[in-house]
Subunit: 87 residues, 2 copies
DNA sequence: CCATGCGCCCATTGTAATACCGGTATTCTT
DNA sequence: AAGAATACCGGTATTACAATGGGCGCATGG
């Protein structure tokens, strides 16, 4: 096994993450936020639309910083998994 | 320019992140922590040794959860740049 | 002495993230 | 109507991650 494909759960988490970030962005433009977080607007757009399921830690960290979000809360909401019991 | 190479700053951040996680692991074995976080032991080793500079958000989040670390504090320490680099 | 366990290192492989391009659609303003 | 601004999408390119397997060294204890 090498670099496993994204699982459906990871994809769903990515979508929840994107929605969360978009909501937090509010009325600010993608350009503004992306510039402040030093990421490409394309990357921000893909993350917000859920097309990037597992972004880099630093990417999310800088975005959360710009948006005034707590990383712990972000993860708590994002990882609020539907029905994943322990394996 | 597509998918820019890692900057020296990102590499340094990765090393700080690795040291932090290793310190937090304490006496637990890599296998134990990796298993609990559902990541490969090699991946954990690479992160701890700083050979993976920008791991996925979910990877660090699960690791931090297993290690009992706050993501906000992790990022605060990791992103605390010494600012000695001149461009 | 030899086996076991732990950590490290290297090479390889497959997939994904990041970034740029061109095109499209909508909205708002002039 | 024309223009700018914003956001979406498909395609493409480049780099990096995640995981596997093998080998290595060093302890510990059988």
């Amino acid at each position: 096994m090498v670099r496993l494909p994204l699982t459906p759960e990871e994809i769903e988490r990515g979508q929840r993450l994107g929605s969360l970030l978009r909501l937090a962005r509010g009325e600010r433009s993608m350009f503004e936020v992306a510039l402040a977080a030093r990421v490409s607007p394309e990357t921000l757009r893909k993350i917000e639309t859920g097309r990037v399921a597992t972004p880099a830690f630093s990417t999310i960290a800088t975005l959360a910083q710009v948006l005034g979000l707590s990383l712990d809360e972000v993860w708590a909401q994002v990882s609020a998994a539907p029905a994943t019991s322990h394996r």
